[in-house]
Subunit: 132 residues, 2 copies
């Protein structure tokens, strides 16, 4: 029995590492959140994404309120061992708190001197109906 | 003429934001690096990924040494406006300094109490031949 694999991750000075959730099948990058040691351990134990909420300062089982749970199919770390990549099945197809599929719904358009971020993905569910 | 789009990004206390490079076509997440305001501006100006190297403390035009340039097809930010997502064409199909396709070549196997990270992607090119 060894939990050495948790020490293998190079946690930053706050004890955190960024975690990318990528959708199985589509390959869409859904969101980026943070994990600490406990969050990563709980993710493996439950098979569902558990992050560390920096705003609430506690473990955050993604979907605990919204039902938009992420079932983990694959878990990776990068060559520097300081970024985590999860391949997930996104329940209800909604990862973003805005009710969109992905958090990356703002696309750059234009040039460096005349640029803008344009919203290019629809709201699939009214956030007021997600968080009651 | 406006560069307001650069101020739209919520740079952290170091003036940085994480940037994910995802391969067009395959959808593979290739790597995560950091950008500052200048790096993002240069990325848009050149159409190729320019990061901020924290170790070298300077702008890093990805591929400047290796030739493994990333041509940018799409540029996004997330709902919190603090993470950047690039969809790129990866020249030579090698993003990682280890000579692998992706930096995320270490896969978790086992259980929380008996886990390990296993290398699951081959080296496509000897790093000694990449960096001469």
């Amino acid at each position: 029995m060894t939990q050495d694999w948790l020490d293998h991750v190079k946690w930053d000075e706050r004890g955190l590492a960024p975690a990318i959730a990528q959708e199985v099948g589509t390959g869409d990058v859904l969101m980026v959140a943070w994990m600490n040691r406990d969050a990563l351990k709980r993710t493996v134990e439950t098979g569902e994404a558990v992050y560390w909420s920096r705003s609430r300062n506690r473990l955050w089982h993604k979907g605990e309120e919204s039902g938009h749970v992420q079932k983990v199919h694959d878990l990776r770390i990068d060559c520097d061992e300081d970024v985590i990549l999860l391949k997930v099945e996104q329940i209800d197809g909604i990862a973003c708190h805005t009710g969109r599929h992905s958090c990356f719904f703002q696309k750059f358009e234009g040039t460096a001197d005349d640029g803008r971020w344009t919203t290019v993905e629809p709201v699939l569910k009214d956030p007021h109906k997600i968080y009651k």
